[in-house]
Subunit: 256 residues, 4 copies
Amino acid sequence: MPIRVTVWGENVHEQKNKAVAENYPKGMHGQIAALIGEDKNLVPTTVTLQDAEHGMTVEKLANTDVLVWWGHAAHGEVKDEIVERVVQRVWEGMGLIVLHSGHHSKVFKRLMGTPANLHWREAGERERIWVVNPGHPIARGLGPYFELENEEMYGEPFSVPEPLETIFVSWFQGGEVFRSGLTYRRGAGNIFYFRPGHETYPTYHDANVGKVLRNAVNWAYNPDNHAHLLKAPNTPVDKAIEHIVERGAKLTHHPK
Amino acid sequence: MPIRVTVWGENVHEQKNKAVAENYPKGMHGQIAALIGEDKNLVPTTVTLQDAEHGMTVEKLANTDVLVWWGHAAHGEVKDEIVERVVQRVWEGMGLIVLHSGHHSKVFKRLMGTPANLHWREAGERERIWVVNPGHPIARGLGPYFELENEEMYGEPFSVPEPLETIFVSWFQGGEVFRSGLTYRRGAGNIFYFRPGHETYPTYHDANVGKVLRNAVNWAYNPDNHAHLLKAPNTPVDKAIEHIVERGAKLTHHPK
Amino acid sequence: MPIRVTVWGENVHEQKNKAVAENYPKGMHGQIAALIGEDKNLVPTTVTLQDAEHGMTVEKLANTDVLVWWGHAAHGEVKDEIVERVVQRVWEGMGLIVLHSGHHSKVFKRLMGTPANLHWREAGERERIWVVNPGHPIARGLGPYFELENEEMYGEPFSVPEPLETIFVSWFQGGEVFRSGLTYRRGAGNIFYFRPGHETYPTYHDANVGKVLRNAVNWAYNPDNHAHLLKAPNTPVDKAIEHIVERGAKLTHHPK
Amino acid sequence: MPIRVTVWGENVHEQKNKAVAENYPKGMHGQIAALIGEDKNLVPTTVTLQDAEHGMTVEKLANTDVLVWWGHAAHGEVKDEIVERVVQRVWEGMGLIVLHSGHHSKVFKRLMGTPANLHWREAGERERIWVVNPGHPIARGLGPYFELENEEMYGEPFSVPEPLETIFVSWFQGGEVFRSGLTYRRGAGNIFYFRPGHETYPTYHDANVGKVLRNAVNWAYNPDNHAHLLKAPNTPVDKAIEHIVERGAKLTHHPK
């Protein structure tokens, strides 16, 4: 069954910065969607911050299997109620791929429960991304490492929770390292953080980056809806699986 | 060095429900503090929801090494700005022990990034808490299991992130199970969730529960402050550890 | 592409115990294979302890994508060299599903690095298996729990490493709990331990058990071979990715 | 209470290689013990491969709280029965710190259940060890990173299980990265793998390395003995916690 992928683009620097516009004439979201669409089972569409409800309408989210998120300059403009809506869909089982500066997006920080800080440098230096977990489906088809000749540096400590698994670790020319590919589950939703993707460099034209994105979407896909996780139901005494007799003091005289 | 423990109590049902008041004439927070104080290296104090700033002033938090949180009826009354203040202190390294219905506190849900739901029943049934990780410091001095003759049931799925380690799993008379002791780290802060503690039963008079609380406080204690994790600093090119030359297009003309 | 599944059966109690023979006239391996074969993309075959090289020839392993292992009475009869061969195939990427008393198989203990002990009772009591991680692919299609009216009890502590994820937790009528579904990766091989399956009860005729087995095989499947993980190669100085000059004292005068 | 630390040294290259002998006139074990002894609560002693039973007698192990292991050239000479004895003490609760080339020791591979391979280069290049988990007790007192001007390179993938937590990640001058500090628990024993320590360089004269070793020993210490984890006891029906009646067919006519 085809997987419905929505690429969320902030679409700000594409409009303001010549280098970004030249790298990504279709917008970063457009190029990210193009990379994902190389797998014919993946059906990408794009939305942007500027769309009504930032493109994250109830209907659009209901029809999204995996959401890919790139933002940088305008995290603060994303409305809190939309953030909650996205987060709830993740808990229900929608996959989420967070890219690069999206580490500071409200959605990602909300799901991590941490500041997701790091230190950084914009110098166009070399990044070498090592596969530390070659058997993981997100690393499928990659060599031992791949390089991006010009990238922004992100350095440790990256204040995120210990992941389920660490897939990639980056080496930077200026002397830093970074855990560049991390997996999480929140509720029924699979989450993958992938570091590269600074807007002034042609990262989303790189073949290995495309491979990682397609692998990640396939990995994150969960065909089922687990909306039941959004509730905390009472199981009354007379519905207990094993027979029990009520005892002791109660707050609730009748089961809620 | 003595560990400064602050016990946060909601102090609502103690005032409204006769059974709770009889169980806990000093308030639940008072009795929890008494259990913790049995270890002479632990110095507990108590604050409640009704205190100014819910007792969570900047100064009080600065002087708290480990915070213990019990709440149930009034999670919604805790102000969001106080929640953020508490969460930031956890990221800096303050330990946090979340008890029972505190699973639905704003502080805990904020740090987990999940709804922290479960299903439940108030019937005074038997709970048997099994130690599944006997080598963990939080299980020190316990037998293979201990029992609470009357407890509220919490049943799986408990929608929290996969923990660093699972310490306890509960068996309930009515047929359910629950992961009753879970560890996390968020930023530099150690977090322990411990299930038992329904207010209409005498749980915080149980010797094993006291042992777990004292173990947990000692485990969660982190003597250092890691406020640096709250920042995302730039490392300018001329301060790179390894010599590099700036290349490519930039968003920032001067390092921020 | 079809997934080649090999079911390894010990085939001892089927020959000696009337109840086992009646439950499993085709052998336990035969019935486990039948359950797996209900997914038409899975192609199960069976081998047994009594086969030459216990059925685990180099060729058979090379043609196995996922191995399912049931053993109990004769763990000690499995030759160490065969155990090493199986373990190496797991490291290369073969999936492994270990069932019930297979927790004490040489293969499982070798991969865990722990004794994999537990406590137990054979009394035909009720087991209720709760799904604690409903979003995991191994839990797909199950309800909140399922029951086996007669099973052997396994009780905690189960001395295995903290898993990647806990999928199931069992409730037992006699008062115990057990982490009944646990995932691991060793090298490139995905491993799932699944608790139920005592030979004197009809567990492998249960529809939910079948569903779990098929889900687990699909989850564990890794289409790639990572035999490179069995080597520790030298990267000589003149092949370093970044130019470096050899310095300091050496053990090795010439790169190995 | 003082912590009894045993440093196990292979003591082979100290006798054969001039550079090693000059770096470590007291043997590597002697210098590692000296670093550990700077914490007055730690009481280090040393044993070597050449001692009777490799110094790992039943008595010595019974009197060891934390074992530190350095080996390289002679892993194969360590007798299998001694390896099993050490591994069982770890399961009981003895801490274990494995250093550098000890990744290929029988003891470490036995406890990991993986080949623990990597790729390597002996070129005296610069290693920079980044703290990725600053709140962990093993990182206490360190800056954001520390450097070793000359070290052997170890490169990913390091085929070990996903750790409980990743503490350090190394940057190498020649372009590689490595997860240099990893924690595990096996049975009740805490295990820390720490990468640096090639014998031809003065690594164990470095102040930060000393700090890590002392932190790691304090972290790994477990005052309790959990020998019960080495057994898999039967709990007979008439000793079940909750009353149950035996049902169904049995393998065992009388409880074992």
